[in-house]
């Protein structure tokens, strides 16, 4: 900031502009922190409750968890900040510790404890679900593994119950959208996660999955069902690893999310992408990358900017 540099006068030593700017920034941050502490102190005096209590009273579901997490991360007690970084072994004990450190008083009917418990479980549940998802992703499809093979045949039977698979290696796999005669090479970087997602959608939302498969056979707007599915697993995985699905899980799962909750996100993407694709009326399948990117941006915007975001399957239309 050049004006500031001249106003400091001749006596002070000239500092590089960058250093001055960073000092101004530190100064500003310091003032904001002081102001925040002051406001918190006043609020505590007036309402008789601490910030955490005010959050649990004011906000619901996902927003509450996000605010609680921010508040805990900014806590002056290192023990409390640590609770966000590493999952406490005993969450009840951790909450008692917060209560005593912050000297919180509340009446017995308060939902403070139950609320804090859900928040902490949601925050850490997300991270441990990501570990599970990552384990499934790095598990590559192996045709010598009986479980993998059984899962693959299950997918066929769920999607094509009236049409028996004549051979394990067969052109028929193309009917459900694999590339060649053996799906084993199609899972690539998504591994068993891609297969599990497809099987879940076909099993739990069988009618929707078969309707989607039917769309994928459309003479003009057709696409490869399984391959698109594996690309959507990749999309769901990216949302998960970048933390974007936190809003969705905090809003929809009252505690720790599990693999099936992730499978539901995949099912949502599969169903919604199909609608998006058909509505785009693509010239042919070569438009996939463009339409996928547009779809990705649409979902991403919801997850980023809508605090009440829920990616729930809506099959009414």
């Amino acid at each position: 900031m050049p004006e500031h540099a001249t106003s400091t006068g001749r006596k002070t030593r000239r500092m590089p502009v960058q250093t001055q700017a960073s000092i101004n920034l530190i100064d500003l941050l310091y003032k904001i922190t002081l102001l925040r502490c002051f406001i918190k102190w006043i609020l505590r005096l007036v309402t008789g409750t601490c910030e955490l209590q005010r959050i649990t009273q004011k906000y619901k579901s996902g927003v509450c968890t996000v605010k609680i997490e921010e508040s805990l991360q900014r806590s002056k007690f290192s023990e409390i900040r640590q609770m966000i970084e590493v999952e406490p072994e005993d969450i009840d004990a951790a909450i008692q510790q917060i209560i005593s450190l912050k000297n919180i008083s509340f009446d017995a009917n308060s939902r403070f404890i139950s609320c804090m418990k859900v928040c902490l479980e949601q925050i850490h549940g997300y991270d441990s679900l990501f570990c599970t998802i990552e384990e499934l992703r790095v598990e590559t499809y192996n045709s010598c593994n009986g479980n993998h093979e059984a899962l693959l045949l299950k997918l066929w039977n769920l999607l094509q119950p009236e049409n028996a698979l004549k051979e394990r290696v067969s052109r028929q796999w193309g009917e459900i959208g694999f590339q060649g005669t053996d799906p084993k090479t199609d899972f690539r970087g998504m591994g068993i996660l891609g297969l599990k997602n497809l099987v879940y959608f076909a099993e739990v939302h069988n009618e929707l999955a078969r309707k989607t498969l039917l769309h994928s056979h459309h003479p003009q707007y057709g696409y490869s069902y399984a391959i698109v599915g594996i690309n959507l697993t990749s999309m769901a995985y990216e949302f998960m690893s970048s933390g974007l699905l936190r809003t969705h899980f905090f809003n929809t799962v009252h505690g720790r999310p599990n693999v099936n909750h992730f499978n539901e996100v995949f099912s949502y993407l599969m169903f919604e992408f199909d609608k998006f694709w058909m509505k785009s009326e693509p010239e042919n399948v070569m438009e996939f990358s463009r339409i996928r990117d547009e779809f990705n941006q649409t979902v991403e915007a919801v997850l980023k900017y809508v605090p009440s975001a829920k990616l729930s399957l809506d099959n009414s239309s």
């Binding site: 090479t185 970087g189 490869s224 990749s234 399948v285 070569m286 438009e287 990358s289």
Partner: protein
């Protein structure tokens, strides 16, 4: 004079852009090669529905690399991308002996297409890190590369996964096109 100079400069700049087409059967490793060329992570690759495109800088050239899906139902669309191609890179899975004939038939169709006549051809004999991979010379025989006439071509053994051989292939591409552009 100034304007003329500027126009000349613009012309030489536009000459520095190359269109490279990456083709081959599904699971040959085209997308992995594309990502390696662009120095991107190759752990999250998915089968290509449609195509991917990336621009890579190399030796003052801007390479626009088109990676088109290799599954059978997409192959009829390959020819939509032939126009103005500077180099064709054909990728072969050296472990897939069962489909060596199939990939040979597809390549044969490419090299007999008028739109690709005279376009230099680089064949990547990919997946050389795997034990069961056939050596590049066997792949060259299987594809009958020696029967190609009127075309500069090269076969390059590589492992996209390990990043081996890719740079050598790229160097051949750069050498061939700079000779041609002069």
């Amino acid at each position: 004079m100034g304007l003329l100079k500027l126009l000349r400069k613009l012309k030489s700049e536009s000459n520095k852009e190359l269109r490279i087409l990456l083709l081959g059967l599904d699971n040959a490793g085209k997308t992995t090669i594309l990502k390696k060329l662009a120095s991107e992570d190759i752990n999250h690759i998915t089968p290509t529905q449609g195509f991917n495109i990336k621009s890579v800088q190399s030796q003052g050239f801007k390479l626009n690399v088109w990676d088109i899906g290799g599954q059978r139902r997409i192959r009829p669309y390959w020819r939509n991308y032939f126009e103005n191609t500077d180099v064709l890179i054909y990728v072969v899975d050296s472990t897939d002996k069962k489909r060596l004939e199939e990939t040979g038939v597809e390549l044969e169709e490419l090299v007999t297409d008028e739109k690709l006549s005279g376009v230099p051809l680089l064949v990547f004999a990919n997946k050389q890190d795997l034990l069961q991979a056939a050596p590049a010379s066997d792949i060259a025989d299987g594809l009958s590369l020696h029967t190609l006439s009127g075309r500069t071509y090269q076969i390059q053994a590589c492992s996209a996964l390990k990043g081996e051989g890719i740079q050598d292939g790229l160097e051949w591409v750069m050498k061939t096109v700079s000779k041609k552009k002069k």
